[in-house]
């Protein structure tokens, strides 16, 4: 198959594939390449860059764009050490236990 034919094949079929259900390591590598390249640019230029770089592979463009979307969000769970996330979860459980105990204490008062 010539590269053009492959491209047509991929373009045609990728529209049938909901994104990244069929993600393979090779595909992910390609996504990564575009993602890293986009990070070198201003966020304002990402859309234009992807439109050009994905060469009509709409599924690929959507895939990378949806990931880049997470670059612009604020404070994220994963940016804190796991130990802290765990501690906060534990605090919720401890507060829960305290509140649960209250009705049992009431008859004593």
């Amino acid at each position: 198959m010539t590269s053009d034919k492959i491209k047509m094949y991929v373009t045609h079929h990728s529209s049938l594939i909901t994104h990244h259900c069929f993600m393979t390591p090779e595909r992910y590598k390609e996504v990564g390449r575009l993602y890293r390249a986009a990070l070198e640019l201003e966020p304002a230029r990402w859309a234009a860059y992807l439109a050009e770089a994905c060469g009509g592979d709409e599924a690929l463009r959507r895939e990378v764009a949806s990931l880049l979307d997470y670059e612009t969000r604020g404070e994220r769970l994963i940016d804190q050490p796991a130990l802290e996330v765990a501690a906060r979860a534990m605090a919720q459980v401890m507060i829960g236990d305290q509140i649960r105990m209250r009705p049992r204490l009431r008859p004593c008062l």
């Binding site: 993602y35 050490p81 802290e84 919720q92 829960g96 649960r100």
Partner: protein
């Protein structure tokens, strides 16, 4: 309960680094700084010095103690400027162990890899146990538990993140390692670069891509749950 019966491995790691001769002075200082985090057990040290160190993991009572301590701070509504302290604490334990007991490890990378993996297992196991306790706690408690959920973060997220990270490893092993070393192991980008033998710049872009991918996976989990 499984958690309570675990052997105190972080304590063991500390004990190991503080075990002999001239370190007695340090031991005193450490007791002061880390308090109950240090539990010195001669038999454990002896076992480790007989070459069983590789099985040592920073699992343990000590991690749970630290967790509980941090949790109490959250409960009191204290802002946790604790991030640095926590990371520093994990670090300190790792570094001292690596520095002083190098011979037991193939190399630093091996050690950091194992340590981060261990931390991942402890915290995720613990989160699973919390989830189970929460869900198995009887029907009358469900609505109360739900009402108590403060914000979107918690045990569920940690478990979901762990699952997503396992899925990521199928796509890109190195990226999943970067996340494990940074999020669970508390390593800096430079240190991770050293462990994985890539530049800090590569670590950074691996991290950014992996983070976006994982967060999107988490969003999907949330959406499909509803």
């Amino acid at each position: 309960m499984a958690i309570a019966t675990r052997t105190p491995a972080v304590a063991r790691l500390f004990a190991l680094t503080l075990g002999n001769g001239k370190r007695r002075r340090n031991r005193k200082a450490y007791r002061k700084i880390y308090g109950d985090l240090i539990t010195v057990s001669q038999s454990v040290i002896a076992a480790m010095e007989r070459g069983r160190l590789r099985r040592a993991r920073p699992t343990d009572a000590a991690v749970y103690d630290e967790l509980r301590r941090m949790a109490r701070r959250y409960m009191r509504g204290q802002p946790v400027g604790h991030t640095l302290q926590t990371t520093a604490l994990i670090h300190e334990a790792y570094l001292r162990l690596v520095g002083q007991e190098e011979k037991h490890w193939e190399n630093r990378a091996h050690f950091f890899g194992v340590a981060a993996q261990a931390m991942r297992h402890i915290l995720v196991d613990h989160a699973r146990a919390r989830n189970m306790a929460k869900r198995g706690g009887g029907a009358h408690q469900v609505s109360l538990d739900e009402a108590l959920t403060i914000g979107p973060e918690g045990s569920d997220d940690l478990v979901a993140l762990n699952d997503a990270l396992t899925a990521l490893a199928e796509l890109d092993q190195r990226q999943s390692q970067v996340v494990e070393l940074r999020f669970f192991g508390g390593l800096t980008e430079e240190e991770i670069g050293e462990v994985l033998k890539v530049s800090a710049r590569t670590v950074r872009s691996d991290w950014r891509l992996a983070r976006s991918w994982l967060l999107r996976e988490l969003d999907k989990t949330v959406t499909s749950d509803k």
